[in-house]
């Protein structure tokens, strides 16, 4: 079953036509990695799926529900999707445990003690057990990003959107975040991820999607895309990012 379906999604900002008809499907338990140059529309794609941007045309279906229908409650749709941002976006005035349990308590109506128990368990599982009561500014970037991931997955979202989550991190800290994503993928989470980490994309993705000038130019298994890209633009992009 498809968790996410995009049909002909368009998005413009003024004269800038950023998404020019994107079609994409993400199946349950699938890890799909979106690659492409800066400005190719990856981030805008992620933002339209989370309904942060209103699409100009086309449809986005989440587990079969058209979430671009204006009659749909956008907050309720967003609550079904977990999002992790490039700059973590943790709430600095809340402790780690309050950050990760906020949505569960306020949006999903989970009793506070159950949310805290689940948050503590997840944080412990991902090596953050001793940070539960700390404030985010006491944590390293990698730790903050792992907390942000825990915040996104605590409510068991149908889909996890990861938008260049390692781009703001020290190279030393990228590994710990990617290991966590790998664990989530192995555990069966449905993930759509935009990234510049090609080796990670190659080893973790079930499918790699190459975006170019607002369109999905090519899509396939990591071996197909990285081993034998068909399109010239894909070949040029990979040649530039792989041989730095």
């Amino acid at each position: 079953m498809s968790v996410l379906e995009l049909h002909g999604v368009h998005k413009s900002f003024g004269d800038n036509h950023v998404l020019k008809g994107v079609d994409l499907e993400v199946d349950q338990h699938e890890v799909v990695v979106v690659i492409g140059a800066s400005g190719s529309g990856k981030s805008t794609l992620m933002r339209t799926i989370n309904l942060i941007e209103q699409v100009d045309d086309g449809q986005i279906l989440l587990s079969g529900d058209d979430i671009t229908d204006p009659r749909v409650n956008a907050d309720r749709a967003r609550a079904r999707i977990g999002v992790v941002f490039q700059h973590f976006n943790l709430f600095p005035h809340m402790r780690v445990i309050d950050n990760v349990t906020l949505a569960a308590r306020r949006v999903h109506g989970m009793p506070a003690d159950a949310a805290v128990a689940k948050g503590t368990e997840l944080l412990g599982k991902f090596g953050l057990g001793d940070k539960v009561s700390d404030y985010p500014d006491r944590l390293s970037g990698g730790q903050q990003q792992r907390v942000a991931i825990v915040r996104a997955i605590l409510t068991d979202p149908e889909l996890l959107l990861l938008d260049e989550i390692t781009s703001a991190l020290d190279p030393m800290l990228v590994g710990e975040v990617l290991d966590l994503v790998r664990e989530l993928g192995d555990a069966g989470s449905t993930i759509l991820m935009a990234t510049h980490e090609m080796s990670f994309a190659r080893s973790v993705a079930d499918r790699v999607v190459f975006m170019h000038q607002g369109r999905i130019l090519e899509s396939g298994t990591p071996d197909q895309i990285f081993g034998a890209p068909r399109e010239q633009a894909t070949q040029e992009f990979l040649a530039r990012v792989m041989h730095r």
Binding site: H17, K20, Q213
Partner: protein, 286 residues
């Protein structure tokens, strides 16, 4: 290439969505209009049916007396506008000076820092009326200044009070600029002063534009307080007419004029705040 022309035409689905959004927005405008109408009607009926309404109407909303007092009050308002003009310039200069004095670093500057701190503490703590009395009646009594109109002393008193508030707002804005900006400027070799002038103040000022405009709106009406020193401004002119007619309508006229004076600026403040939010936002629909 982004921005290249494309042959995209909105689909039937999108057109349907647009029609739906349009209908929804028309509906919310209609609901807002209806609810405003009902609210106004209820308030109006309650007012008109109150037992003392006839007496209140006669002594506060007497059209004839209002019309007669209008020219005097308008002339008085012109004094308020002039006082406001000079007070704003004074506050801008003195407020900035105080804010910079308070943010000076280093032991040499301790006296200046202390003066600025004591000044802002004192003038924010003192009721404006008392400052007006002290400046308006106290300083002329020293007999060291030539005789000046009461309005001048009133303007000085207002300037002294508001400078303290504005200085604190400016300082808060300067402190809200992220320390990394200061580090970046200093590492380019800029001095502390240059860093303040070229990097910190421009950014800090932008952050505090809304509270500053709020202080300005507040000043627009507080210049009316100079009337207690005897200056014939809008409030004083109204008071004279009230005493002559035993009717309070001139006060209502003065109030309406003060509102009319501040309204354009209040709207401008809202507009600027909205535009700043738009420029800084990457928030999309949320």
């Amino acid at each position: 290439m982004p921005g290249a022309p494309s042959s995209w035409e909105p689909s039937e689905l999108e057109l349907d969505r647009r029609r739906h959004r349009k209908r929804a927005s028309v509906r919310s405008v209609l609901i807002a209009a209806a609810s405003t109408l009902v609210f106004t009607a209820v308030v109006w009926v309650a007012l008109v049916n109150s037992p003392g309404w006839e007496a209140v109407k006669e002594s506060f909303f007497n059209l004839e007396i209002g019309r007669d007092s209008f020219p005097d009050i308008l002339e008085g308002l012109w004094l308020n506008i002039r006082a406001l003009f000079f007070a704003v310039i004074g506050v801008a200069v003195l407020g900035t000076l105080l804010a910079v004095m308070r943010s000076l670093r280093g032991p040499v500057w301790f006296p200046l820092r202390a003066i600025a701190t004591v000044y802002t503490d004192m003038f924010r703590g003192m009721p404006v009326l008392i400052v007006l009395y002290l400046v308006g009646f106290g300083i002329p009594a020293l007999d060291i200044f030539p005789r000046l109109p009461a309005a001048v002393w009133g303007t000085i008193a207002i300037t002294l009070c508001y400078s303290a508030y504005v200085a604190e707002v400016l300082r808060a804005g300067m402190e809200a600029v992220h320390p990394s900006q200061r580090v970046a400027a200093r590492s380019l070799g800029l001095s502390h002063g240059e860093t303040l002038r070229l990097v910190v103040i421009p950014q800090g000022l932008r952050k505090v534009v809304p509270p500053l405009m709020n202080d300005f709106v507040s000043m627009q009406k507080d210049v009316g307080l100079i009337s207690i020193l005897g200056a014939v401004d809008a409030i004083r002119a109204a008071q004279i007419d009230v005493a002559a007619t035993y009717n309070f309508t001139p006060y209502v006229v003065a109030a309406l004029l003060f509102i009319a004076l501040s309204l354009p600026f209040i709207r401008l403040t809202d507009w600027i705040a909205k535009r700043m939010a738009q420029r800084e936002q990457m928030g999309g629909t949320v």
